[in-house]
C-alpha cells in the first residue's frame, strides 16, 4: 500500500495479485470509479451499488474461483461475478473451518 496515493481515488487495491478493490466511499451502479493497481491508474464502471468499505471485483470471476485481497486468498466465489459487482457473503464463501461442509 503506497502512501498518499488514495487522494482522489474511489477505491483501493492492496496487492497486484488481488481480484478485489475496497470502496473508499459509497459507489453507485453505472458510476466510473478510479483506483490504482501498484502505481498504475485504472478505471471501471460499477455494475452494482457498493457501500463504503465493501468490496467489488476488478475483473470477471468464475464460480468456484479463489479470490484474493491483501495478495492472499480470502475465499471462493459461489457464483460468477462480473467486473464492477459487489463481492460479499452472497457470492463469496470462506474456505476455512466448517464453512466447507
Amino acid at each position: 500500500m503506497t502512501e498518499n496515493t488514495r487522494k482522489g481515488l474511489d477505491a483501493v487495491v492492496l496487492s497486484p495479485l488481488d481480484e478485489l478493490a475496497t470502496a473508499l466511499r459509497n459507489l453507485k451502479t453505472g458510476e466510473r470509479v478510479r483506483f490504482n493497481i501498484a502505481d498504475e491508474n485504472h478505471e471501471l464502471t460499477m455494475s452494482t451499488d457498493v457501500a463504503l468499505c465493501h468490496k467489488f471485483s476488478i475483473r470477471d470471476i468464475d464460480e468456484g474461483e479463489s479470490v484474493r485481497k491483501y495478495g492472499e486468498v480470502i475465499g471462493a466465489a459461489t457464483a460468477p461475478i462480473p467486473v464492477g459487482a459487489h463481492v460479499h457473503v452472497h457470492n463469496l464463501k470462506s474456505l476455512r473451518a466448517a464453512s466447507d461442509s
Binding site: E3, L9, H54, V89, L92
Partner: protein, 387 residues
C-alpha cells in the same frame, strides 16, 4: 522517537504503571456484589471479580488463579484489597501478590462471620488507608521500554485492516524496537493468515506452536458444527463489509507489526522476555483484553471500524478508528482519529508520529473516553464446565 519518555509510577518489582489504582478484587463469586459495593464506597478505586469459585476444573482452575494474580500484579495497580469466601484461596492470592512488593490486604467472609455487611465495613476502612498510602506515590520519567502494549480490535470493518490495524502494527514495532513489549491474541482471527504469522516465529518451536494453536481453534469450530460466517465475522462485521474469516484475519494480524514473535503465551501468561508475543486466547474483547492486562500490559490499543465502547478497567484502552462515518457518530468514544489516512490526506507515517505522542500522553495520565465514561470491566475466560 525512542528518546521520548512518559511519566509513570515505578513499582518495587521494576514494572512501571501508567495508573495508580487501588484494586478491590473479589476472589470468589459469592463476594462479587459485596466487592462492587466496597469499590463504590471508595471513590477512585477499581473493581475486578471472578464470578466463579467452587467446581472449577483443570485449565479453568489454573487460568483463574493465574489471571487473578496477574491482574493484581499489573503495574497499573498501586495497592490491592482482596475479599473472598474461600480462605485458603484468598491467603494464596495475597501471598503471591505481596511478592510484587505492593501494599496488599485481604479479608475473608469467614473472618466476618459470613456477614457481607461486616465485610463491607471492614474493607472500606482498610481500603481507605490503602488509598491514602498509594496517593503518596509520584510519577517519574520512564523510557518507552517500560511500556507493554496489548493489541486488540473489535467490531472491525475493512477500514480496520486498511488503516487502523497497520497503524497499531507500527506502534507495536516502535515499542518493541525501544525495548518494550507487545502482545496480540484473538487466535481464531489468525485463520487464513497463520502462514504469515508462523514465518515470524523466533524459533521453530514458536512457529509450530502458532500453527497448532490455529488448528486447535479451527477444529473446535468444526467439532461444534459451527459455520464461522455469521459468527466470526459476526453480523456487525458483515454489515461493515467483511465477508470471511480469512479476510478478517488478514486485516487483524496487521496489528502485530513486523517483528519476530518471541513466544506463544497461554491465556493471561506473563511473557518471560521483551519483544512481541502472541497469546492463544478467545477473540471476544472482554475476555481477550483481561488476558492482556493479567499478562502485565500497561496500555491497550484497540481499533474499531463500526465502533466499540468496551475497555479494560485496570489498563487504559486507547480506541482508534479510520472509518469516516464512525468518527462522526462516535466522538465521545474514539481517542485517535485516523480518518485522514483512510481518505489519503495524511500518510500512515505522520499518523504514527501523532499516535506515539498520544500514547505518551495517556501513559502520563491523560484519560481516555472509556476511562472517563466507565466502560470497563474485567472478564476472565472459561474453558470448560464446572462440577
Amino acid at each position: 522517537m525512542s528518546l521520548k519518555q512518559f511519566q509513570g509510577y515505578r513499582r518495587p518489582d521494576g514494572q512501571v504503571g501508567v495508573r495508580n489504582h487501588l484494586l478491590v478484587l473479589s476472589a470468589t463469586g459469592l463476594t462479587g456484589p459485596t466487592g462492587r459495593r466496597i469499590a463504590a464506597a471508595l471513590p477512585g478505586s477499581v473493581f475486578a471479580g471472578m464470578p466463579y469459585d467452587g467446581g472449577l476444573l483443570g485449565e479453568d482452575r489454573d487460568a483463574q488463579i493465574r489471571t487473578l494474580i496477574g491482574l493484581c500484579v499489573n503495574p497499573n495497580v498501586g495497592a490491592v484489597l482482596i475479599i473472598g469466601g474461600n480462605p485458603p484461596k484468598v491467603k494464596h492470592l495475597a501471598e503471591q501478590i505481596a511478592k510484587s512488593g505492593k501494599p496488599t490486604q485481604a479479608i475473608t467472609l469467614d473472618e466476618c462471620e459470613h456477614d457481607a455487611l461486616t465485610l463491607t465495613d471492614r474493607a472500606i476502612r482498610v481500603g481507605a488507608k490503602l488509598r491514602i498510602e498509594i496517593s503518596r506515590q509520584r510519577r517519574q520519567s520512564c523510557p518507552l521500554s517500560s511500556l507493554f502494549l496489548g493489541l486488540e480490535c473489535g467490531r472491525s470493518d475493512p477500514s480496520s485492516g486498511l488503516v487502523s490495524n497497520p497503524l497499531l502494527g507500527l506502534m507495536a514495532d516502535h515499542i518493541v524496537d525501544s525495548g518494550g513489549k507487545a502482545v496480540f491474541g484473538e487466535t481464531t482471527e489468525w485463520l487464513g493468515a497463520e502462514h504469515l504469522l508462523a514465518k515470524r516465529g523466533a524459533t521453530k518451536a514458536v512457529q509450530q506452536a502458532i500453527l497448532d494453536a490455529v488448528l486447535d481453534h479451527e477444529q473446535k469450530a468444526i467439532d461444534a458444527g459451527l459455520d464461522l460466517t455469521g459468527e466470526n465475522p459476526g453480523p456487525t462485521n458483515i454489515a461493515g463489509g467483511l465477508s470471511t474469516i480469512e479476510e478478517k484475519s488478514l486485516g487483524n494480524i496487521a496489528k502485530s507489526g513486523n517483528r519476530p514473535i518471541q513466544s506463544l503465551l497461554k491465556y493471561s501468561e506473563v511473557p518471560g522476555v521483551a519483544g512481541l508475543h502472541a497469546m492463544k486466547a478467545a477473540t471476544y474483547a472482554p475476555e481477550s483484553i483481561t488476558g492482556f492486562s493479567a499478562a502485565g500490559a500497561n496500555l491497550i490499543l484497540f481499533t474499531t471500524g463500526q465502533g466499540n465502547s468496551f475497555v479494560n478497567t485496570i489498563t487504559p484502552t486507547i480506541k482508534v478508528s479510520a472509518n469516516p462515518d464512525t468518527l462522526v457518530r462516535l466522538q465521545e468514544q474514539i481517542d485517535f482519529n485516523a480518518r485522514d489516512v483512510f481518505t489519503g490526506e495524511e500518510s500512515l507515517g505522520d499518523a504514527a508520529n501523532r499516535f506515539v505522542d498520544l500514547i505518551i500522553d495517556v501513559a502520563s495520565g491523560t484519560r481516555t473516553w472509556g476511562e472517563v465514561l466507565g466502560e470497563g470491566e474485567e472478564v476472565v475466560s472459561r474453558f470448560g464446565a464446572s462440577l
